[in-house]
């Protein structure tokens, strides 16, 4: 109740008080941080002011008529109902205004569509409900490529009001996209399941991620910083929970980060070879479950709605092959995705082992990354 009172107070204050209170209430688009976004902002303001000017003239005449030409003031009606000159004029003038608007709009559009070679190229894939970023090697050397998933980092406790909401509530991810400042970055955008849309307002980039299509966009950020956006195409249940975060960093820092990523990718591959214990797998699996599975199957594996419960279900407690098949290959025609291509062998092994040993499913069974590797390649 306390929060309600505070909010209501802020609301009343905001409505009654002037500029200082209103400063918190964003009214307009931000100019953003790229040249394109500045051009778009300029276009937006130009059209807005043209509309305001037209509105002032048209509504001005209208309100003047409403106040002056009313019966209660004894105004007698005129009887004109045609004037060809006026009618031609107010067809031609708006047309001319439209031409004036169309010229800068066309120029900006041509600029945006200029997708010449970039210095960094990232493949962006939309999944229900996370983004995958794969850094392509410009020389085509696959060993230098790496990629990862970017998941919502806001906790379910914050969403369900059991915890105070963080400043970047719903706009925070575990692994942001990292790009170097001052370099031309090109994104190749696609999707794995349904249509998503990748949007960062500060770059003025919004492009749909469509299964079977690859859309190209480019941007160049000159100011280091963290830029936040969201998925903007309804993509199912957690459409509101798949933010986009881009960190623009100086070039040296970017190179260092990329080198670390390549090393980490190598380590990940080695994890498959390692000998794992049940406890290690369960511990790792708990984290994987929270990021990839809890959204549908619940924090405690109890499912809900169309999503099956994992507690005591025979697939999870008995039939190991079926369990592997569902997690690795998905269930076609349902929201259950094929995680075989999304998670590493270690993560797959960990999450399956976790599910078989959590919430009272005490099977004491485990599956190792090596077994997953063999299963995938059989």
């Amino acid at each position: 109740m306390h929060v309600h009172v505070k909010r209501a107070g802020a609301l009343v204050a905001g409505l009654l008080l002037s500029a200082p209170a209103l400063a918190e209430w964003t009214l307009n688009m931000s100019p953003g941080v790229t040249e394109t976004s500045n051009q778009v902002y300029g276009l937006h303001m130009t059209i807005l002011w043209i509309c305001v000017a037209i509105g002032v003239v048209v509504f001005g005449v209208m309100f003047w008529s409403i106040f002056a030409h009313r019966k209660s003031k004894g105004h007698k009606p005129a009887n004109f109902h045609e004037n060809t000159v006026v009618e031609i004029l107010w067809t031609i003038i708006p047309f001319a205004i439209l031409v004036i608007m169309a010229i800068p709009a066309t120029a900006t559009l041509v600029d945006m569509y200029d997708s010449e070679e970039a210095e960094v190229e990232i493949k962006v894939t939309g999944y229900q409900w996370r983004w995958q970023y794969e850094y392509l090697d410009m020389q085509g050397n696959e060993d230098n490529e790496f990629g990862y998933f970017s998941n919502l980092a806001t906790s379910r406790d914050e969403i369900n009001n059991r915890m105070n909401k963080n400043e970047n509530y719903l706009l925070d991810v575990d692994n942001p996209m990292v790009v170097p400042v001052g370099k031309r970055v090109r994104l190749l955008i696609t999707a794995n399941d349904v249509i998503h849309s990748w949007w960062v307002p500060a770059f003025s980039i919004k492009k749909d991620a469509i299964p079977g299509f690859i859309n190209k966009v480019w941007f160049q950020v000159d100011e280091p910083g963290t830029y936040r956006g969201q998925c903007t195409e309804l993509c199912g249940k957690d459409h509101g929970f798949m933010p986009v975060v881009v960190e623009a960093v100086p070039e040296e820092e970017y190179n260092q980060w990329a080198a670390n990523q390549r090393e980490a990718a190598e380590k990940e591959r080695q994890l498959t070879e390692k000998d794992w214990t049940l406890d290690e797998l369960v511990e790792r699996g708990e984290g994987v479950y929270a990021s990839y599975c809890a959204a549908c199957h619940g924090d405690d594996g109890s499912g809900g709605g169309a999503f099956p419960s994992l507690r005591g279900t025979s697939v999870v407690t008995e039939d190991m092959d079926a369990h592997l098949d569902i997690v690795v290959n998905g269930v076609s025609g349902t929201a259950m995705q094929a995680f075989g291509g999304q998670l590493s062998e270690a993560d797959l092994a960990a999450v399956i082992t976790y599910e078989r040993n959590a919430w009272g499913n005490n099977t004491e069974e485990m599956v190792t990354p090596k077994e997953i590797f063999d299963y995938k390649n059989q």
Binding site: N83, A105, L234, H239, G240
Partner: protein, 528 residues
């Protein structure tokens, strides 16, 4: 044929049948019009209560009242019910009541088909609403039902949704055929096309739009049906299909559809403004040509809903220019309405209040439409609350205020009783304030970066969302007052209405007594 004509001749001078059969079997345009209007208002309240659920969830950040699955069902059903259940049937109801009275015809041209077009609707919506109680829930993919979210990933109830859309499409097409047949064949002697009242003109053009695009909608849902149940891959990329094709076909229907929802309102306002300004409509001919131009342009602008899907630059430019062009005929209409008010002798009874608000607020919706047409700027606006603000500004104070204006304007003719003017004005002002409070802040939210169709949002959007929810609750609650006003009026509780209660009103409908007798214009009137 002669047998039918004979039966008709026998009960010619009888009043309506008694009891439920009057409504089930009626072929009388006034009864069918009344049923359409009651159905539409029922759907308006149902779709509106879903909007209340949406606004209640968005009152504060965090999930409080509903879960995301159900939230998505609410946004989807709200859109579908308001478009197909509230706005479209309301205009068909007005057409049923008023077109025969305005052109001096005894009834609609095809009265039995008229009965069937109406009774299909409750069946379709019963089926649509029943999906809420099915396993897996109601459709949850937005009223635009983009594939593959609605096909491969849709809930099991999607097939029922498709069937419901087919039925309401058949109903709309039959209604449109009836309107065209009535207007082209049953006009009173002397009423040439260019002497027809504006409401008749706008409905004639709307009916052609309906016949052109409802089959396209039927086509796209049939392709979905095949993808879901019969293993085809029209929209499934994995099977060689194309998810973007869905959007092209859908919006080829969808864009004319938005004009279907607004053109009859243009007609209504073109009657009410001259009536209360006591001055003839300015530029009748250019008004007719403007409506025709808008209708034609509506077929070549569909991809402006798809600027972010990655269409080639020349496509992008074509659809941007074509969309901007719509501002010209729309501007002409607004200028003509203002010129009609100019140097009139105005009074501001409830129908006029709603019509003046229509002109102002619809124009604001038009301005944001023009902004959305600018493709590079649309990359920022697309699928944000700016779009939600835009289409609610053209649909609520556009279509819905147009319907309210029409209802208040013609209620005396329908019921023979004047509505309560004080209550009518109260309804207007509360709706006006509530509606602006609900939808104006959405412009700011969109520009600040809030995507549409999300059940929860980042903290910087909290304040305006709360304002918007308060406005929405106010607007929603106010509509119960409208119900009260109409019921009061229909029960004859008020001043008796004369045949022509508005001194500036023109048209054949005011030459028959109030309430309009069960059968009117059995002998056609002579027009000048």
């Amino acid at each position: 044929m002669s047998a039918v004509a004979d039966t008709h001749a026998q009960d010619h001078h009888h009043g309506p049948a008694k009891g439920i059969t009057r409504w089930l079997l009626t072929t009388n345009h006034k009864d069918i019009g009344t049923m359409y209007l009651i159905f539409s208002f029922t759907m308006f309240l149902l779709g509106g209560s879903m909007a209340m659920v949406i606004r209640a969830e968005l009152f504060q950040p965090g999930l409080q009242i509903v879960q995301p699955e159900f939230f998505n069902q609410m946004t989807t059903m709200h859109g579908l019910i308001m478009v197909f259940g509230a706005v479209m049937p309301a205009f068909v109801g007005l057409a049923n009541w008023m077109l025969p009275l305005m052109v001096g015809a005894p009834d609609m041209a095809l009265p039995r088909m008229n009965n069937w077009s109406f009774w299909l609707l409750p069946a379709a919506f019963l089926m649509l609403v029943s999906t809420l109680f099915m396993e897996g829930g109601a459709p949850n993919f937005g009223w635009t039902f983009y594939a593959p979210l609605s096909t491969t990933y849709g809930p099991p109830s999607t097939t029922f949704f498709i069937f419901a859309v087919h039925i309401m499409g058949i109903s709309s097409i039959m209604g449109a055929i009836n309107v065209i047949a009535t207007i082209l064949n049953l006009r009173a002697p002397g009423m040439t096309l260019m002497k027809m009242p504006m409401f008749v003109w706008t409905w004639l053009i709307t009916a052609f739009l309906l016949i052109a695009v409802m089959p396209v909608l039927a086509g796209v849902v049939t392709m979905m049906l095949m993808d879901i149940n019969f293993g085809t891959s029209f929209f499934d990329a994995a099977g060689g299909g194309d998810p973007v094709l869905f959007q092209h076909v859908f919006w080829f229907f969808g864009h004319p559809e938005v004009y279907i929802m607004i053109l009859p309102a243009f007609g209504v306002v073109s009657h009410i403004i001259p009536a209360f300004a006591r001055k003839p409509l300015f530029g009748y001919a250019s008004m007719v040509y403007a409506v025709g131009a808008i209708a034609l342009l509506s077929f070549v602008v569909w991809a402006h809903h798809m600027f972010t899907v990655g269409i080639p630059i020349f496509g992008q430019l074509f659809f941007m220019y074509a969309t901007m062009l719509i501002a010209v005929p729309t501007g002409v209409k607004v200028f003509n309405w203002v010129a009609t008010m100019f140097r009139g002798s105005m009074t501001f009874e409830t129908p006029m209040l709603f019509s003046v608000a229509f002109v102002i607020l619809f124009t604001i919706g038009g301005f944001s439409g023009l902004m959305l047409a600018i493709a590079p700027a649309d990359f920022q606006y697309h699928d944000t609350y700016f779009v939600v603000a835009h289409f609610h500004y053209v649909l609520v104070p556009g279509a819905i205020f147009g319907i309210f204006a029409a209802a208040y304007y013609w209620l005396p003719k329908w019921t023979g009783t004047m509505y309560d003017e004080t209550l009518g004005k109260t309804h207007f002002w509360l709706s006006f304030v509530g509606m602006n409070l609900a939808f104006f802040p959405m412009h700011f939210l969109g520009l600040a970066g809030m995507p549409r169709r999300i059940p929860d949002y980042a903290l910087q959007f909290a304040d305006f969302n709360m304002v918007s929810s308060i406005g929405a609750f106010m607007f929603g609650a106010t509509q119960l007052l409208f119900l009260f006003i109409v019921v009061k009026c229909a029960r004859g509780n008020g001043e008796k209405a004369s045949a022509k209660p508005w001194d500036g009103a023109e048209g054949l409908e005011w030459t028959v007594p109030s309430p309009a007798p069960y059968h009117t214009f059995e002998t056609p009137p002579e027009v000048k």
